[in-house]
């Protein structure tokens, strides 16, 4: 049971950092008109080193986030074994 609480706290920390990581990215795509049949706007992907590292960080955090949720779900499904 304690293990579950630890995981939940880690989940909170990971989520908060993931929000910041995602918001730090530069926004791509120009909103609504771009979304449903606007003109073709191909942005030049000029991602520097910082952006690439941030990408790596975001992917890691996202995987961690998904993983913790799956583990938590499995634990609550087979609760009693823990």
């Amino acid at each position: 049971m304690n293990f579950e609480l630890v995981l939940q706290i880690i989940l909170v920390i990971v989520s908060v950092s993931l929000v910041f990581a995602i918001l730090l990215h530069k926004g791509r795509g120009g909103g609504m008109s771009d979304m449903f049949g606007g003109g073709v706007t191909s942005g030049l992907s000029s991602s520097g080193v910082a952006e690439r590292n941030l990408n790596r960080l975001t992917v890691t955090l996202a995987l961690l986030w998904g993983g913790i949720i799956v583990v938590l779900g499995l634990m609550s499904r087979f609760s009693g074994d823990f």
Partner: protein, 435 residues
């Protein structure tokens, strides 16, 4: 056709992009089936089996989340918060002059606006997640009297709210990744996938409840409607523009003829989405103002219930139709500014043959746009009415697969994506997918 597809696969650059897009979509679809923490999966399945979840308040939202909402999965909010945020920033451009200025600044300013949209998405995601969590806690989300959570304590609920909001933000990020490194626009592809995921189930339901005859009829009508949509989406009025010859240094430039394309349906599906969202309000009001003890509801609730409670009442249909037309004009006015177009043309020495530059040009453009858009608005309204008509004719429910909004979005997104792939192939001197 097949050889064209083979060429797409043989182009290494394009292949990577398409595989990347497919990969992200797969991750998204897997996420839809992962229940959020502190959700009691058993209870959810039980409540779903009890039925009575279709129609009403959340069917529209559920369509956009690809069935994730009713399963209370981690991606339950889907792309909805981002769409709402995009609509709000779009509308605020009319109200706040600073936003309009940013929009006109070019790419830098637009990136800033996108950044605002993303911040707004986080706020809206938190708000939506709180609503969903509250509804799930009482079981009202599935019209069920059992709590969908295995622990309705404050900590578990907070955890659920946070996970749901995070899910929406992660989806936003995945969409951006598709836009950046894949093909097509990520956000609209996400919506496309969510809607397409509901197709087989919807068609299967028709087959089972109505028999194969109706099923075949629905298929034929659906394909005909698709062809109609492709036809209208591609039609445009070409206003000719002539550029005067000018001498720059020793070179002569200009004297070219080109045109301003004015699409019949310039607004896309946005008006339909706006109208459906606003017509969801009466249903929310009804939901919250129904007395729980079974006594007679207030007069105005009865009134709303009678005229706006279900999508098949003529007054509801008429309102929907008129609203779609109104929002079409509204959106076209926001996005296309004849004054700007005319000014730009004048600066580059262009003019419309037979029309003087300046004020007459603006008037002429306004005249053409309002007439072309009239047809476009009628078309949008008709398409939007389709599911409601089907609702009356064959007794399909509101998840009718060839529903107006969904079919418009699907065809629009598919056309756009194929055109992008096509453009990329033509860059490499291959003939594209389209003939």
């Amino acid at each position: 056709m097949f050889s064209a597809i083979a060429r797409v696969i043989k182009t290494p650059d394009l292949r990577t992009k398409i595989l990347f897009t497919l990969g992200i979509i797969t991750i998204y679809r897997i996420g839809v089936f992962i229940p959020a923490p502190s959700v009691d999966y058993g209870n959810v399945q039980m409540c779903l089996a009890q039925g009575d979840t279709s129609g009403g308040l959340y069917s529209f939202v559920n369509m956009f989340s690809g069935g994730a909402l009713l399963q209370v999965s981690i991606f339950a909010l889907g792309i909805m918060p981002y769409i709402t945020a995009a609509i709000i920033t779009q509308l605020l451009r009319v109200v706040i002059p600073a936003f309009e200025r940013l929009q006109k600044e070019g790419p830098e300013g637009q990136a800033r606006l996108t950044q605002y949209t993303r911040y707004l998405t986080v706020g809206l995601a938190l708000l939506n997640a709180t609503t969903i969590a509250t509804l799930a806690r009482s079981g009202a989300l599935l019209n069920c009297n059992q709590s969908l959570l295995n622990d309705s304590g404050i900590w578990a609920t907070l955890l659920l709210v946070m996970t749901l909001a995070m899910g929406a933000i992660v989806i936003m990020w995945m969409g951006e990744q598709i836009t950046e490194r894949g093909v097509g626009n990520g956000m609209s592809l996400m919506i496309f996938v969510s809607i397409a995921a509901g197709f087989p189930a919807g068609l299967g339901a028709i087959w089972q409840t109505q028999g194969w005859r109706t099923f075949a009829l629905v298929m034929v009508i659906g394909i005909a409607v698709m062809m109609l949509i492709v036809f209208v989406e591609d039609s445009q009025r070409r206003v000719p523009v002539q550029y005067a010859r000018r001498q720059i240094g020793r070179r002569t430039v200009g004297s070219t003829t080109t045109y301003i394309p004015i699409k019949v349906n310039m607004a896309g599906v946005i008006p339909v989405i706006f109208a459906s969202s606003i017509l969801m309000l009466p249903q929310i009001l009804i939901q919250f103002n129904m007395p729980t003890d079974g006594s007679e509801p207030a007069g105005w609730v009865v009134f709303l219930q009678q005229y706006f409670g279900s999508g098949s009442h003529p007054i509801y249909m008429a309102t929907f139709f008129l609203m779609t037309i109104f929002f079409t004009y509204f959106y076209v006015t926001i996005t296309f500014n004849p004054q700007d177009v005319s000014d730009n043309m004048k600066r580059q020495g262009g003019f419309i043959p037979g029309v003087r530059a300046g004020r007459p040009t603006v008037q002429y453009l306004e005249y053409v746009i309002s007439r072309v858009t009239f047809v476009g608005a009628l078309y949008l309204g008709m398409i939007a009415m389709l599911p409601l008509i089907a609702f009356v004719l064959i007794g399909a429910d509101e998840n009718f697969p060839f529903g107006g909004t969904s079919i418009l979005i699907m065809v629009g997104v598919a056309l756009n994506t194929i055109k992008q792939i096509d453009a990329q192939m033509e860059q490499r001197h291959y003939e594209g997918l389209l003939r």
